[in-house]
Symmetry: C2
Subunit: 544 residues, 2 copies
Amino acid sequence: MFYRNHLIKFSYRCFSSESRINSFIKSKLMSAEDVAEKFPEKVTIGASGFTPAGYPKVIPGAFAQRIKNSKNPENFSINLYTGASTGDELDGVLARSGRLKLKIPYQSHKDLRKLINQGKVNFIDMHLSHVSKYIREGIFPPIDVAIVEACDVTSDGRIYLTNSSGMSGTYLPLAKDIYIELNEAHPLDMKGLHDIYLPEIHTGRPINIDYVDDRIGTPYVRVNPEKIKGIVLTNKYDSSPGFKKPDDASFKIANHLLDFILDEVEHGRIPKTLLPFQSGVGNVANAVLACIAQDNRFKSIEMYTEVIQDSIFDLIDSDKLRFASTTALTFSSEGQKRFHRDLYELKSKFILRPMEISNNPEVIRRIGLITMNTALEADIYGNVNSTHVLGSSMMNGIGGSGDFTRNAYISIFMTPSVAKDGKISSFVPMVSHVDHNEHSVQIMVSEQGLADLRAKTPKQRAELIIEKCVHPMYKDLLRDYFQHAQRVSFGQHTPHDLKQALSWHIRLQETGSMHPDHQAKKEPTSKDTEKAAQKIDQTAATKK
Amino acid sequence: MFYRNHLIKFSYRCFSSESRINSFIKSKLMSAEDVAEKFPEKVTIGASGFTPAGYPKVIPGAFAQRIKNSKNPENFSINLYTGASTGDELDGVLARSGRLKLKIPYQSHKDLRKLINQGKVNFIDMHLSHVSKYIREGIFPPIDVAIVEACDVTSDGRIYLTNSSGMSGTYLPLAKDIYIELNEAHPLDMKGLHDIYLPEIHTGRPINIDYVDDRIGTPYVRVNPEKIKGIVLTNKYDSSPGFKKPDDASFKIANHLLDFILDEVEHGRIPKTLLPFQSGVGNVANAVLACIAQDNRFKSIEMYTEVIQDSIFDLIDSDKLRFASTTALTFSSEGQKRFHRDLYELKSKFILRPMEISNNPEVIRRIGLITMNTALEADIYGNVNSTHVLGSSMMNGIGGSGDFTRNAYISIFMTPSVAKDGKISSFVPMVSHVDHNEHSVQIMVSEQGLADLRAKTPKQRAELIIEKCVHPMYKDLLRDYFQHAQRVSFGQHTPHDLKQALSWHIRLQETGSMHPDHQAKKEPTSKDTEKAAQKIDQTAATKK
């Protein structure tokens, strides 16, 4: 595979960027297939990457091929640690190898998701801020091999990463063996974007980031060079799904949200210079940045977030990006080209930080962030489910949303009010799983409107959410539930009828819709449930 | 009332501690009744106190009396802001006045709880770390009067608090008028215990507490002395419920927990010098300290917590308390006497901090705490309910448990496996309310055993919890649910049967027991529900 796919490019790049292939790198060069041969059959891999950005792209495929070619594929067993989810060439190929046993700490790949929900892959869905500590403390199995994508490696063991910082700072020093994919698609000028720093454990030392642009670490991960056992040359962009223009609902949500923020500024609760934004991934997040770019009321924006997408260019073009701290640059091909083209200028506006730092509660609380994350569903009392379809099936994982929401200056959750042509209401009597509870969710916004839940009792929150956020086709139904619950509830603080609280989910599972008018209730067959599952999965996927 | 209750003590103390009643204090002296007359009928009160410690003890009663004597009690309306809950002389008397409309941010008084669950008092159950910000930003109605208990006041406006720091540092500077209860039961040597510091908002400045004994503020709250409109002399201890010897179950829980901590030390995940403890209030927390005191394996302990109870004397007596940072000293009369007696010596071992600092996520995360809090109930996947009986009825509130759990070094939840002679299992298929979710709950412990939930899938967690923590009489029932859920669940990541998930709670509500063998199911009458409610309330109360 190495020879087939990369030899031409390799020869060319080797010539065109002679300086990158120093004698140390030269001495370590091998093919992806050769690397894959060196892995133990039962292997724990720590990989670079955070979202489809900066992840290894050829070694995992070569290892999957080795398993496929093996006479005893059942001998293989893979634990895969990444930063968040990654691209198909890593998460996808190892999932499809059939030998993936454990994945942490996040995933968003359809093949992997399917295996997890069939109970075939163990997935530990965890706060991203916990991962480094768990790994370093040995709570997870130790790392046999680290595979990281880099743009440069020095003979004294400095590894310069590419589009994401992710977990490499943790995995590299702990791995027995290190393999590097040196991706020549990235210019050497990428060096300097990263700020690698890992907090000591068991000490009370502060992490000295007071502002989004503070640098406290090194632009590389330093390792013992003797542990670098092989370097594979690649020349490939990240396989980002690209950039889709946000839909109308997303723009409506964005506008409600920006009006709210400006209102907070007017009341003196947010300073005129604003506060740094954290923003989840997806349509609504992109719409928010697009709207800020167009809106004269916003002058200058800072980000302290995990993922930067192409939407950042709207801010750059409107000269409104003061600074962005992130863990990943998740660009489309066009975005990547643009970033490389303007790299010299853009470097002063970006820092790539380890997941451990981007998601660190200490820093998040201190800086004071406006956090914006997507709810899969929310209930009338403001509890948010971001992970579980029908309380049982894993969508992607909580990722960093818990770290940010819990410690935010203002925590905002966004969701279109309905999905699947109205068959699913994003607002339900009781969520089927809680990732962010009533105490931590402050603002709820759908395309219908925005509910400010701060300083409200549960009942006041229910009235507000029903009034402001719920789609008209579900408003009366939710009002009915809320009134009914007050009549029969055990207590009046948070009225519920426990017999009816999950009935909307049960109806969805049985009939394919939460709305009683959509179809007559029928006893489901196993085939129906499977079909419904597929439909709901697809819908949920489009919401992320 | 002032004259009736306090004149004798006042005269005596006046003589015996002439220095305390300086000319400024003398010029402001009035009776509680006179103070109460000055309050507006619609009043927002910010009071000192955090748990029954350091709260005003006579002015609230005088105000309640004024309402009672009024021809138009319905004209009165009270919003009460405290730090956590307080004593009967504040939370109780104002609840019973019938004119309390809003209470924040916590409560544990039975009369108040009843009104909240009848829907008659608005209660905002919130993370304690959010309160100061919400108040300072004007999200809650502004404070008309602050009533604080102090041990000294100077003419330039320095107010020295007593047994709790609570929210006084926030409420005092914002209140229009300030009234002080100068409690001469406290020696002037109490001065110096407090470290009052409020973080600026909208800045990225760190809170420079790296170790539990760091001081960053002042030993007093400074206010404009012109705002002090009256001072009432008192001479009363706090009405703490006193100290009950922990029961056997609590000692069993404590022992499981300490074994676990020592095992973590052995594995290098906790340093040999240990990490500071945060501990909730109650039996189990007290048992933990008692066991540490007796256990030769523990040498020296630090606390970074909200509440210190009499159990601290076990540590002091065994010379194991290195330092305790707290927001309240909640002593029995005996404990209070002892503390006063040894004050000179003990002052070097204690700091009283504002709630905003004790519960601050930045500091909590940085210091690295072992947090121990009580679960009202937990489910097989590790989600914890700390607040809601049957998903609807408020017990006490989340208090600081969210701030600590979310940002802990290791987060531990404790609960006896059953309550009410086994009619309630603390472990259920699905909790009826989530305060701490599967991502944040790391260790679960009952008197049956301890489940280490870290790095486990939901299904692995379920097996562990059922195996280690559940009472034998509920083990098979939970196993049955778990196996049944895997057969019918929509997805296999977190298997649930949404039709059965809350059935244990429904059974409890209908029959008074979660166990199907306890009595034949019957259709409940409204009287039954009320009776069950009382029983469950009582049981839940004993668990806290």
